[in-house]
Symmetry: C2
Subunit: 249 residues, 2 copies
């Protein structure tokens, strides 16, 4: 057995064959005045979440050392943090690999995210104010602007900002951070298989939530938010077989 985890033999290995580890694109000059491990953690995390590093890609400590001209210690620190977040699987004496996007993980991630966001919504609804409505509609407007610019990175950011407002309005920033941590797997999936043609629907679904809140229709808002979030499974169902193989299911 190669190693305990199911590792896709797909393009991840091809990538690692031609380049160093598929990280050669991560050109990033780091500031030696700040913590090296923090910067490495940030760079690697973004690369994994944005699926520029496919699931199963080997993460060689030494390769990263050579690439950034630092010692193994801060690299190890960064990888250990990623492992703690569930983004990297470490197999002693074998290697470290970008964690797979499992169906089970996706379901757990979705369940937690949906439960917590609905709970936030229920807290916010009774205190709903016109200012909140304006702020959320502004966030949606920002999304529309970004769609026009064809900027996927910007859209994900704007989408996150919209949902973040729920946490802000509820006065529970800590809960939002927990949501962010839990929905990482979900985010990776969306980044991996996002369809631009769905973006207008996202806009509509977001507006449906705000409309219901404006009407004071708590149940309707909850329903709208739930169906919006559950769309990920519709998207998943539309994913062709060969695309699924790059995930571990």
């Amino acid at each position: 057995m190669k190693h305990p985890s199911a590792r896709p033999e797909s393009s991840a290995w091809a990538n690692s064959a031609l380049g160093e580890t598929g990280l050669e694109r991560l050109a990033f000059t780091l500031d030696r005045h700040l913590s090296v491990s923090d910067q490495l953690h940030s760079v690697l995390r973004r690369a994994i979440v944005e699926v520029r590093l496919l699931p199963g890609t080997p993460i060689s400590e030494n390769s990263i050392c050579r690439q950034f001209s630092v010692s193994r210690t801060p690299v190890r620190t960064a990888i250990q943090r990623l492992a703690e977040e569930g983004l990297v699987d470490v197999f002693p004496q074998l290697g470290s690999f970008v964690a797979p996007i499992s169906l089970a993980g996706l379901q757990d991630s979705h369940f937690i995210r949906r439960s917590l966001e609905v709970a936030l919504l229920r807290e916010v609804a009774p205190k709903w104010t016109p200012e909140m409505s304006r702020a959320m509609r502004e966030a949606v407007a920002e999304q529309e602007r970004v769609i026009a610019g064809n900027d996927p990175d910007g859209f994900f950011h704007a989408d996150e900002a919209f949902h973040h407002l729920l946490g802000t309005f509820a006065g529970r920033e800590g809960v939002w951070q927990a949501i962010m941590a839990a929905k990482v797997t979900l985010t990776r999936f969306h980044r991996y298989w996002a369809k631009p043609e769905r973006l207008p629907d996202v806009i509509r679904e977001h507006l449906a939530v705000v409309d219901a809140l404006d009407r004071g229709d708590v149940a309707g808002a909850e329903q709208a938010l739930t169906t919006h979030l559950d769309m990920v499974f519709v998207i998943f169902g539309q994913m062709p077989e060969d695309q699924r193989r790059n995930l571990s299911l």
Copy 2:
């Protein structure tokens, strides 16, 4: 300024004055065949969660090195993991300290835990079976047995087992693990200020949930679970002022 965090000048410092760091009781011979960092992480985590190490206690890497006769590397690894879990605050060039139990953290921890457990309950209720009922009542019976034996450690374990069943019945083990991670702050609080006289009430509240589920009364079960979990704030309100000072509020 000593360091950026609010550190209580309470018994934590007294402890660190007389002993090494208050860790001298952590007599624990570790197995050199297993990962040293894993074992240290486990030992320290238990000590913090069970509040044998009070909030604010300094965690000196070198002290732990001397105590267990290992190098700083695995000690650092363990502490970094604890920092990632929010159990330790690390201040570069200053020191590492057992994280305070803040009121905000307590509220977030409670909110997440309650939201997720209620969500699990809603999933389980429609598929409720007599076998599930029996399993939960057995868990409660175990708690009653442990109460008689005056074993606080055992009670917390049995209590956790009861709630764990919800995750098991829902078939969402990953969600339960997230709950476990989120409710750490809550657990620390309960361990710090648990009153034996409340234990019979816990039994009753648990049974109320099971009774409602047996009746097919989903709303009632949800209500029972919510009030049970919300009891932590009643307990908090009963805590005398001088006891609160050991927490950072």
